[in-house]
Amino acid sequence: MSKINLIIKREYTTRVMKKSFILLTFLTPVLMVGMISLIVYLGTIKDNKVKSIVVVDKTGLYKDVLKNNESYTFRFTDATVDELKKQEEQESDFAAVLYISDDLSKNASGATMYSEKQVNLELKTYVAGLLNKHIEEQKLASYNIPNLKEMVEKSKTDIDMKTIKWSEDGKDKEASAELAILIGMITAFIIYMFIVIYGAQVMSGVVQEKTNRIVEVMISSVKPFELMMGKIIGIALVGLTQVLLWVLLTVAIGAGVTTFMGGDIDPASIQKMQDMQQMGQMNMSAGVNGEIADFMSSVAGLNFTQLIILFVVYFLGGYLLYASLFAAIGSAVDNETDTNQFSLPVMIPIIFAIYAGIFAAENPDGPLAFWCSMIPFTSPIVMMVRLPFDVPAWELALSISILVLSFIGTTWMAGKIYRTGILMYGKKITWGEMWKWLKY
């Protein structure tokens, strides 16, 4: 087995066998799925307590309009709002007070709701919905046109506009901008995380070898460049393994949880959504199923093969670019505390890239997005954000070429600094010193 393979194998196995790696790899998807399930679950729990609303109706017109449902009951009283407020302070048996001062068909702002706590949206929507519907019917009736109500009902439509983009092969694909942004941001963020976490691992690995003084032993049997590349590639494989396991585990656990909870929760939550839509006088024709179908067709509309291939390309390209720089820094310093001073200039472009990525999502064809997806220090992150918005092929080719050339360049540079740095002890290193090593 060649020496570099041996080094890669050692870097890979020692890291993958570590308890922290195993724990992190297996716990993260569990936590992710758990968190999402918890949010979904909490969202579907119904507040079973029936809340009572006290209505002070000066007009006396709405007694029949405000109908009780399973969450809210309405109680009509002649007391004034001030009295109710006092009552509320002593002992409250109602959630809110609805005060109707005027005929709402003449004065639309004649209704006010008081409560000690913020009135929740569901209640507000429900009450407003009932009143709106009533006024609407009242007004329609006042026109005295026979069958008007039916006519209006029929004339209601729901424009479910689809966004379809023309692709060159003539097939129309349905696209969803939100989904594109989501996928772009997720992949970009994974690359960002990967560069920061594993880049730092490369750096601390090099520092450890140096402070352990194992490096002298190693260097007598392998070339410094082999040692550096072995470490960088080995750690890259660790990262790929981790991401792959995360994806597989998240999908597996997610599927498991959905089937487990599915029968129990989904109909309830869908029912609830439907209720709310009805109350808000929203049109139901599209329906939840329609939305899901839209979502699925947008997912299918994305070019997944291209996405995955380019993800791996930018993932590795970005990592190699930064990892070699981190290796160079690690080789130049004597201990880990000294790394901060030198790693900051390397961290700044990565952090900049993630912000540029957020802006690029808003305007994926703008000049900032374009230039940042060409500059190799930001392109792995920014290009991933732009990717679901169909980047022209020449831009992709140019960006990848620049990235590849750059990482070859930085690796070569890092190799030179590394070669000198790892055998240098007890010297305070400056940028000037590192520049000199480049020219050795």
Binding site: T14, N212, R213, V217, S221, L423
Partner: protein, 302 residues
């Protein structure tokens, strides 16, 4: 022709010249000592021999041929600053290092088994390095250095950190390796081991070689005409100077210095006139004295 020849090697670092025209010849199948104070350039020279750094000028020849990076696999190098991966198990680590030096896994396992048994450390195989003491780790490092049966062994300060028992074990191993055909270069500050082990030495000081040659010859050439005498009667200054004289069990033990022009026999004749002589021995300077004397540039006043 010497096994390893270093010719006129110059190495310049930014700011200072680490080696300035260094030449030496290491005969095959011998132990060669590389001496010198800290910072003299020994480690740089060793790194150049190992092809870790390249000299600015001059060359290193192995068996008469210019050394290439490919020859490095015939070298076993134990650096002064040596370490092991702390979290790795001893056995795995030794295997890893052996494979990096070009051994197959099978050969390495076999050789390791032999050496672990020889050093009686089989039980360490599954231990992690962080569980070992410094001296224990050095034993492992020594094994990994010699495991691939190199023709040339280079030890940089091999004895630092060893207790006397293990240092002695190491000395015996080094001599045994020499007897089996290896050529050994080692650098050290411990002059006693130099006298015990080395046939030839080079003393490096301030980037240059200031003393070079056979240990016995060097010692002879540095003799200070000092003799230690055991006599029955007290000695009195004659043609020689008495440096010190002690009375022990009715006998006298003296250290004397003869005048430079006398031969040993003339001195002895003078001594016999004064007393019956029980023992007569020329005191050769120790390598330690020679080292200090040469490096500090002062002659020893004795």
């Amino acid at each position: 022709m010497a096994f390893l020849e270093v010719e006129n090697v110059v190495k310049q670092f930014s700011g200072h010249r680490a080696l300035d025209g260094v030449s030496l010849e290491v005969p095959e199948n011998s132990v060669y000592g590389l001496l010198g104070p800290n910072g003299a350039g020994k480690t740089t020279l060793i790194r150049i021999i190992n092809c870790i750094t390249a000299p600015d000028s001059g060359e290193v020849r192995l068996n008469g041929k210019k050394m290439t990076a490919d020859d490095v696999r015939h070298i076993g190098y134990l650096p002064e600053e040596r370490g092991l991966y702390k979290k790795m198990k001893i056995g795995e680590q030794a295997l890893y290092l052996a494979q990096l030096r070009g051994m197959t896994k099978k050969d390495a396992q076999k050789a390791l088994k032999y050496w672990f048994e020889k050093f009686e450390i089989q039980s360490w195989w599954d231990k992690k390095v962080e569980e070992l003491s410094k001296g224990m780790a050095q034993k492992v490092q020594f094994i990994t250095t010699i495991l691939h049966d190199p023709k040339l062994l280079i030890f940089d300060e091999p004895f630092s950190g060893f207790d006397p028992v293990n240092a002695d074990l190491l000395k015996r191993e080094i001599l045994e390796l020499r007897d089996k055909g290896a050529t050994i270069i080692f650098s050290t500050h411990n002059m006693v081991t130099v006298e015990d082990l080395c046939e030839n030495i080079s003393l490096v000081n301030k980037s240059r070689i200031v003393l070079q040659g056979n240990v016995a010859e060097i010692r002879a050439s540095h003799k200070t005409d000092t003799f230690s005498i055991q006599s029955v009667n007290e000695l009195k200054t004659d043609d020689f100077k008495i440096i010190e004289q002690l009375r022990k069990n009715n006998l006298f033990e003296s250290k004397i210095k003869k005048s430079h022009t006398d031969t040993n026999n003339e001195l002895l004749t003078n001594l016999i006139k004064q007393s019956e002589i029980l023992s007569f021995q020329e005191v050769l300077p120790s390598m330690n004295d020679i080292f200090i004397q040469t490096v500090s540039g002062n002659s020893v006043d004795e």
